[in-house]
Symmetry: C2
Subunit: 327 residues, 2 copies
């Protein structure tokens, strides 16, 4: 049975009072750059600094009775979401993370009470490690995107967008979503199909990791190589088994942005919104600001999906922003 | 007639739908540092990046009929608040700013449609300049803090805190407020006196600019020299004629923080809240995190009052935060 709007509504009820209802922010300066009104859903303000807490909480509140713990594979944001949700629910959590994940994400995951198992992205198979540890210790695997309750949890972001947009009298807009495996994009697309049917999700990916855009163009799943990139949160190889049919049915053409524009967007979020965005959380804003011709309509809604960035990377973005401001 | 709670309630009605209702954020990492629960009112997410928009909008919506424009003196945040509020109200705005104000604040004020008149902080009298220009051009002066409607506007922050605290079952907390001339502190203190009487405002100032703390200790207004400082937004020489009696009656002892702690607090807001704070907007968080013995109770509420910071200053804070994280 495919994920449906009722799964998202049920997840929203479970998230109420536990996940943060994030604000929709604007700036006249961003509007001027984009040439249209830009509405930014600040999911970097979600617990653990990314939307991933929604899916984690949704999944962990739908576990079978008697579950003692969970295991997850993640470059960082899903890890932190699962770790905090597990701690809040009194469950054990083991996270399998690549050794080259940002330092802050590994440290935060441990500080949130999870046990971290590191692996080598180039030489080891994380899924095999997770399956083995799960079997040995009786843990339930929570996949980062290809999971009914995870998609339902991320979809609550879309219900909030629909509600806020209605209150603003905004019915017609493209909704730009930072896209890795497609859990957030698929969840939001399902929510908007039900609650704001004139809106359309557009996935946004970094150059070199545009498997979803290529798949949407081809009409069938296309894979890109797995390797590290600036936008570490969303460098997945392909859309998921559950997410792909939803993306294919509901999304417009995928957008793809170069890393230089992503860094510029991080600088603009710093200067104009007072938000800290990580590269993978800034690609949608980058598309809105720097690819206006690829987008239709007078309003665009952007998901700023996460803010877990090492200070060294953030400083690269600031140096660029500073250059812009005086240039 | 002194400023009263009804002025704040009336301002809140005028602000509804125009000012942003800012969120109250938390992080388990900040709680661990502070040794108590830390609630952060993110006023850096307010329009123009600081709480000053509230007071500006309150004042500009209470002008006499037929007013054609306004003039304000400000190192930057009041300037931007007045500039945007004036543009939204279709009024002319002239802002008198010190030549050494942060570049971003001067540029933003101009970009928001205001005319900027620069002066030399050491050699010129900004009030004399403002009085002359106001008379020549028929503009109404909007003072940065010592003005009934400005204080009422800033006080709406306190009404929101009281409402959110009630919803959280939180009745007893000290409320730490970044303090320059005392408009925000006085407004919040009046709002809490009416709506959350067990809460107490504690002003927080940078070392070397602790005129309010010294005045509270002495029981009478004490002045410190006017000069530039890291916390440029709040380096005022003395509490105001209207704000001082309110601060004296309602606030606990003033807190004073060194600039090194302010930079550390900016790094923590970056890492843990995904918020950009300027130095003057981070002193209250600095006190909560690094002076826990000066504060009473299990919960502390902190106003993060602004985020308009040049990227060079922000990078100083990040370098400190990075050092902490690996240390």
């Amino acid at each position: 049975m495919p994920v449906a709007i009722n799964d998202i509504r049920a997840a929203q009820a479970r998230l109420a009072g536990h996940a943060r209802r994030t604000p929709l922010l604007t700036s006249p300066f961003l509007d001027a750059i984009a040439g249209r009104r830009v509405w930014v859903k600040a999911e970097c303000l979600q617990h653990t600094g990314s939307f991933k807490f929604r899916g984690a909480w949704s999944a962990l509140t739908a576990l079978p009775e008697g579950a003692r713990g969970v295991i997850a594979c993640s470059s960082g944001n899903h890890a932190q979401g699962v770790a905090l949700a597990a701690r809040m629910r009194g469950l054990e959590a083991v996270i399998v993370m690549p050794r080259d994940a940002p330092t802050i994400k590994i440290a935060n995951t441990r500080a949130l009470g999870a046990e971290v198992v590191l692996y080598d992205r180039a030489r080891e198979d994380r899924d095999a490690i997770a399956t083995r540890v799960a079997a040995e210790r009786g843990l339930i695997l929570i996949p980062p995107f290809d999971h009914r309750q995870v998609i339902a949890g991320q979809g609550t972001t879309g219900l909030e967008i629909a509600q806020d947009a209605h209150a603003l009298g905004l019915s017609n807009a493209q909704v730009l979503v930072c896209c890795g495996g497609g859990g957030l994009s698929a969840g939001i697309a399902l929510a908007l199909e039900a609650e704001a049917p004139q809106m359309q999700v557009r996935t946004v990916e970094p150059e070199g990791f545009d498997d979803v855009a290529a798949s949407l163009r081809a009409g069938a799943v296309v894979t890109n190589p797995t390797r590290a990139g600036l936008c570490d949160a969303i460098v997945t190889p392909a859309p998921g088994r559950l997410t792909w049919p939803i993306l294919k049915r509901l999304c417009g053409p995928g957008l793809v942005v170069p890393d230089t524009d992503t860094l510029r967007a991080m600088g603009q979020a710093f200067a104009r919104l007072k938000l800290v965005l990580e590269p993978g959380g800034a690609v949608a804003l980058a598309a809105a600001l720097f690819q206006p011709d690829q987008i239709a309509g007078e309003d665009v809604i952007v998901i700023a999906s996460g803010g877990n960035v090492d200070s060294a990377v953030f400083q690269r973005a600031l140096q660029r922003e500073g250059a812009d401001a005086t240039g």
